[in-house]
Amino acid sequence: MKIVTAVIKPHKWEDVRAALEGVGITGMTVSEVSGYGRQKGHTEVYRGAEYDIALVPKVRLEIVLDDADVEGVMDAIVGSAATGRIGDGKVWVSPVESVVRVRTGDRDQSAV
């Protein structure tokens, strides 16, 4: 089992969700997060005082899935989240040791 984590631009989230549904993904955890990479932050001005706001709002997706589904999901996310401009985000995959479904107590493969 693996967990795929993706940090994307907030306005691409609907496209990504639709693409993931297309490859059979039925659930995920979504968080509103903030951070920065090469995009850096932005400047805001209040009564002439300029502030450098370092953090940019992003959306983070987390999906636990079978090893076999990883490539298709990665392609779906990257294909739908890309705008070609700086700040599009990142996708990464990590191993998962064990999973339990809270309602039934199912474990691992049957819980994914």
């Binding site: 805001e44 001005v45 209040y46 009564r47 002439g48 005082a49 300029e50 502030y51 450098d52 706001i53």
Partner: protein, 470 residues
């Protein structure tokens, strides 16, 4: 405030609504109705200011910011009724400096209908109208010490300030002579014009704010951290309520439903509009953006400038006054970073500077055709009125700055004006008031007591038991 008209000689002949001083004025229901409404409008400026200021601070201190206004509303009202009104409008005790502080103690002398004499409105209504001016002036000062002042110290400061700073200045500029009554020196001996409080409200609040900010010191992280407004929609709503309330403040200062009130209503609107445009143009050229906060701030700057001058300029003059205030105040708010005083919400830049623009502006663009009937320098009136305005503005500025500084220093010395640095960083709302403004997380915790009762056990209602058995 505008009883000025009947006491400045020839001006009174120009104004048919004015009653000669030697005759006991008859209560006019129209005037009284308007002043009742105007007083309520002035009161509305307090919650308006709470929103205006509250939106401008960070989310961790919005409640304290609003509480400083609501606290001032409560404390000043009490002090005003007890002695403040007497200090401002009691019979002068010498040299036009202060009124007899116990003459109208508790407004007791004004309750009987026979007390109504020298205005076409009940004197007790006039007393409360004036008290609400003091409320908004005191509340304005709190903008200089956002995020970091102990609430108790603020209440003590603003209570003492009411008696020692605001009331004497109000006596100087608002209390006119009449038969059997001697008023303040600036209004009667000098002839300074302050229609609705350019000196008593704006310069006074701004100079007091500067002194207070210097005594209390800068916020942790001032000049480095991003102290951006947490909610500009609150600021816009507050600015709107201030504008609405300002009609009571300015047009109400005519003390009657009359032509002067109508002229001032128009000049007030003109200055607010021009102030907003002035600030926006300035920052569009300087910073590249016309901002929401700039629109709200310029609106207020224009209103500040027209406060003393509303009865002295034409609508075109009001547009010039507002435009000048918008640009000059917009430039002035940056000075705090250069000179390192933390006037957090720009009371100095907007109210002191805007008050100076309006007060001195009367001496420049005052029009003989306006209700106060005095021509400024640019309208061929010479430098006479300009000199009077400069003197009044300067004296009020210095007095408010020095006295407020002394009161603030004493409070700081004996009570402590600052909260701990650690508490300031954590957030003053939580530490001082044990509250937070926004519940952004549903996992808040559980009740631990208080309120004089044990926390009741949750009950399931009459059908709860059965439902759980199904």
């Amino acid at each position: 405030m505008t009883t000025l008209t009947s006491h400045l000689g020839p001006v009174s002949q120009l104004l048919p609504h004015q009653i000669p001083t030697q005759v006991v004025a008859k209560i006019d229901t129209g005037d009284t109705a308007w002043l009742l409404a105007a007083s309520a409008l002035v009161l509305l400026m307090a919650p308006g200011l709470a929103l205006f200021y509250g939106g401008m601070v960070r989310s961790k201190s919005v409640l304290n910011m609003m509480m400083m206004t609501f606290g001032a509303l409560a404390a000043i009202t009490i002090v005003w009724v007890l002695v403040g009104y007497s200090v401002a409008f009691g019979d002068d005790v010498g040299w036009g400096l202060v009124g007899d502080p116990l003459q109208h103690f508790g407004l007791q002398t004004l309750v009987a209908e026979s007390a109504d004499s020298w205005l076409t409105v009940p004197i007790i209504l006039f007393a409360m109208f004036q008290g609400l001016f003091c409320v908004i002036t005191g509340a304005l000062v709190s903008g200089a010490i956002a995020d970091r002042a102990r609430f108790g110290a603020w209440i003590v400061f603003v209570s003492a300030w009411t008696v020692l700073v605001y009331a004497p200045i109000a006596h100087w500029v608002f209390d006119f002579d009449r038969d059997g009554h001697t008023g303040g020196w600036l209004a009667n001996r000098v002839g300074t014009i302050d229609f609705a409080g350019g000196m008593a409200v704006e310069i006074c609040s701004g100079a007091s704010a500067l002194a207070l900010a210097l005594v209390v010191g800068t916020r942790v992280g001032f000049g480095n951290d991003a102290m951006r407004p947490h909610n500009l929609t609150l600021v816009m709503l507050g600015a709107g309520l201030l504008l609405f309330g300002w009609y009571g403040f300015n047009a109400g200062s005519a003390l009657g439903a009359n032509h002067t009130a109508a002229v001032v209503f128009v000049t007030t609107t003109c200055a607010a509009a021009a102030g907003s445009i002035g600030w926006l143009l300035m920052e569009r050229f300087r910073d590249g953006h016309a901002t929401t906060l700039g629109a709200a701030s310029g609106l207020v700057a224009g209103l500040v400038a027209i406060t003393p001058s509303g009865g002295s300029v034409t609508p075109l003059g009001a547009l010039v006054m507002g435009l000048a205030a918008g640009v000059i105040c917009g430039l002035a708010v940056g000075l705090k970073y250069r000179w390192r005083y933390d006037d957090s919400l720009d009371v100095v830049g907007v109210h002191l500077v805007g008050g100076l623009v309006g007060t001195i502006g009367i001496g420049l663009i005052g029009s003989a055709s306006a209700p106060t009937g005095v021509a400024g320098l640019l309208y061929g009136g010479g430098v006479d009125q300009l000199g009077k305005q400069l003197l009044g503005a300067g004296v009020v500025l210095v007095y408010a700055f020095v006295l407020s500084g002394v009161i603030a220093w004493l409070v700081h010395r004996f009570m402590g004006f600052r909260i701990d640095e650690e508490h300031e960083v954590t957030g003053i709302d939580l530490v001082i008031h044990a509250e937070t403004a926004y519940d952004l997380h549903s996992t808040a915790g559980s009740r631990s007591g208080g309120g004089g009762l044990q926390a009741p056990k949750a009950t399931a209602g009459p059908f709860g038991q059965q439902a759980s058995q199904d």
